[in-house]
């Protein structure tokens, strides 16, 4: 106001006015903590002036007294207010719980009515009467008399005589018609309903029958299908087994044919390898080799020995004869009396010496001459030894051996001849 006055006094007479278009005021109440978003991005909340606590609604003459400052804070006041509100709410709830008469229907209104035996007049002014009483000291209290309140008001009565109000027969007809009609209609309806129900029942029954039949049919078909399927499975299995067996048989036969072909050469090769290994030998050949040939060689050996010995003996004989002739010839030149050649003791004795000589030479030559088998060399070794012995000591040696030898040789020679 002060500013307005001063403004009026200003020369330009410019009154401060401020107008603005009506706009909804945003609510400055911050609902959340300081968020980092720009305020412009947030949706602007508008406050409703009607619910703004800062605006005082209603009577402003009687200002609301601030609570005395000595009192505790508004929190306490709020709590008390809340408690009051709660108590109020509880009371209201209890009132609501109490059984009441239902609310009046549309267009009606409840009215209180006295229902005691004796009606009481309700007036503004309440009649008061003072009364005193005093009981006698020794009298019993008489029974209390029934309280019958005084009658107030005027009794009035009316009476309706017959025929005054209405004519029953006339009035009753429509009502009766309606009643009876309704009843009959009702019963007709009921009967119709029953019939309908019965027919429904019948049709249901028929339907049930049909359905059963169909079900039976379906079951039969299913059974048939199942049997078919099983049959098919069984047949497939059988067929599979047959084919399998066929395969196996074919394989077995193929295996057998293959084995036969593969091992066709087995026996010949077994026999060939055993023959190469020397296990199978020709018994005749073996016998010949082991039994006959050594004996044969032995015999050949002996025969050749005989022939060689024979030749040796012949050689010695010839030599002997020639020597004798020589010796005869020489003395003949001296004495002209050839001593007779002695075939008796001297012969063998002389022959013995030269025989031994020649025998040694021959034996020395024989290993080179004769390709004899080894078996004969051991028997030959003692032979050699003996003849060597004979040569090494021609005098006083075991003559018996040599005699035997000579006799044997001479004997064989005879055989040979």
């Amino acid at each position: 106001v002060a500013s307005a006055l001063t403004d009026r006094a200003s020369p330009a007479m410019a009154t401060y006015t401020y107008t603005s278009r009506p706009r909804a005021l945003p609510c400055q109440r911050r609902r959340y903590r300081d968020n980092l978003m720009q305020p412009a991005e947030e949706p602007v909340r508008y406050g409703n002036i009607m619910y703004d606590r800062r605006v005082i609604r209603g009577n402003t003459y009687a200002l609301q007294a601030e609570p005395p400052p000595g009192q505790p804070d508004p929190a306490e006041i709020q709590r008390r207010q809340q408690a009051k509100r709660r108590a109020l709410a509880k009371r209201r709830a209890q009132e609501q719980l109490r059984p009441r008469t239902p609310e009046p229907v549309e267009g009606r209104k409840h009215v209180d009515v006295q229902t005691e035996l004796y009606l009481e007049e309700i007036a503004d002014r309440i009649i008061e009467v003072d009364m005193e009483c005093q009981t006698d000291a020794f009298l019993d209290r008489p029974p209390t008399p029934l309280f019958i309140p005084a009658k107030t008001g005027k009794d009035v009565a009316t009476q309706i005589l017959e025929g005054e109000l209405f004519d029953f027969d006339l009035e009753v007809k429509p009502m009766l018609e309606v009643l009876v009609g309704k009843t009959i209609e009702q019963s007709l309806l009921e009967v119709m309903e029953e019939e309908e129900l019965a027919s429904l029942q019948a049709s249901q029954y028929a339907f049930e029958e049909l359905r059963n039949v169909e079900l039976a049919e379906v079951q039969r078909l299913e059974e048939q299908e199942r049997r078919h399927r099983e049959e098919k499975e069984r047949r497939k299995q059988q067929q599979w087994q047959v084919v399998h067996k066929h395969h196996e048989t074919a394989e077995k036969i193929a295996a057998r044919a293959f084995a036969q072909r593969y091992l066709a050469d087995l026996l010949p090769s077994v026999f060939d390898s055993l023959r190469d290994g020397g296990y199978f030998y020709d018994p005749v050949e073996r016998d010949i080799e082991i039994g006959f040939l050594p004996w044969l060689m032995n015999e050949v050996d002996k025969t050749m020995e005989y022939s060689i010995v024979g030749r040796t003996v012949l050689d010695m004989l010839i030599r002997e004869v020639v020597e004798k002739r020589l010796s005869l010839y020489e003395p003949k030149e001296d004495r002209q009396s050839p001593p007779k050649p002695e075939d008796g003791l001297g012969g063998p004795g002389g022959v013995r010496d030269s025989l031994v000589d020649y025998a040694f030479q021959d034996h020395g030559a024989s290993p080179a001459q004769r390709p004899l088998p080894d078996r004969d060399s051991p028997p030959r070794a003692p032979h050699d030894g003996r003849s060597v012995e004979g040569v090494s000591s021609q005098e006083g040696r075991p003559m018996e051996e040599e005699d035997e030898q000579t006799r044997k040789f001479l004997g064989r020679e005879e055989l040979f001849q």
Partner: protein, 479 residues
Amino acid sequence: MDATTAPHRIPPEMPQYGEANHIFEMMQNMLEQLLIHQPTDPIPFMIDHLQLDNDYVPKILVLGPPASGKTTVAMWLCKHLRSNLLSVENLIARQFSSLAAGARQHYQKFKTLPSGLLVRLVQARLREEDCVTRGWILDGIPETREQALLLQTLGIAPRHVIVLSAPDTVLIERNLGKRVDPLTGEVYHTTFDWPPQPEIQNRLLVPAGISEGETARKLLEFHRNIVRIAPSYPKILRVIPADQPCVDVFCQALTYVQTIHRSNAPFTPRVLLLGPMGSGKSLQAALLAQKYGLVNVCCGQLLKEAVADKSKYGKVILSFFEKEIAVPDSIIMKVLGRRLDQQDCVERGWVLHGFPRDLDQAHMLNSLGYKPNRVFFLNVPFDSILERLTLRRTDPVTGERYHLMYKPPPTVEIQARLLQNPKDTEEQVKLKMDLFCRTSAELEQFYQPVLPLNGDQDPYTVFEHLESGIINPLPNKVP
């Protein structure tokens, strides 16, 4: 139609199984044993024989003149093959045998053993468990033909017979240096085989009977006998010259002992030739096909045939050919599979070359069941390949193919108009060679018993090596 009379196709797995497991040889051995032992209950006998599984244990005879190194070779073979050594000395020295005791007495008196006794000793020893399961090596037995025949009559048949031979003069010289270790029985030599450990050196003894006269006598006897023993073992005898260092002799002996003799088992060769471009695979394959009737399957050729036939595969392959990229493995496998499944391939065998180029293709081939039973690797040095390939020329007019070194064109005018295939330039050849070198190691690892061949020789030599590789069974290598 009755199942027995319908025509049957023998599935190819059967012959492959037979080959891989040596069924024929197994049956042959079993039958031989049956015939030799003639048991009253053949089936348990056969079952026992099969469970023993001793078909491939070493059964070796080592024969040779004195001082040829028989004992040394036999002992080394024994150690290498983990087998048992039998010689006259250790047969006599056995304890717990009345036969051996009798033999000892006889030996002390006469210094020789009668043949019958020796053969019985050998038989008793060979019946023992360790000889049955691990094999045996006879050193110097049989000495005479009689002993050889007796051994053969008893059914003791070796699988390999090694005869060492050397000139007599060498042997007489060598025998003078013989020394024996009394503890182990090993034979050493003063010049050729001196033991490194000094304690062995100190205890070596000079054995008896190594003078020249003795050696000469023994040699004489040996020569008499060996001439009559050798014909008893006709197909399994191998003469190894003993006039070389003993290590060489041993190597030759070991290689021989590890070979398996050819048997009469039916064999369809399925040969895989691996080698870089220009190593001669197609030529060898053609020669093999011509000589043995195998089917020559060249992968590149097959694809070109498929294209020419205009089959459905052919059309697909043609698209790849036009774009000049490699045909994917699956298509190649399908075409190849169809060819290898045909009756003539299954029956007569095949020679495959140009196919697996790397490990994945090899795995695919394997998984489809086409397993080759001989894999050859043609080794040719890079320079040879360069020479062979870069000098190839074609005559555009007549279509003749020439090689400037090996088959030069006859006239100068032909030479003037010769053209070179762009695939034969040096860079291309180098590229292909690098590619091959990268994958060859894995392929060799995958097809483990690979037979390497030197491809740098003339074609017929290489062909002969190839043939011997195919015909002889694969040797079993002792680990």
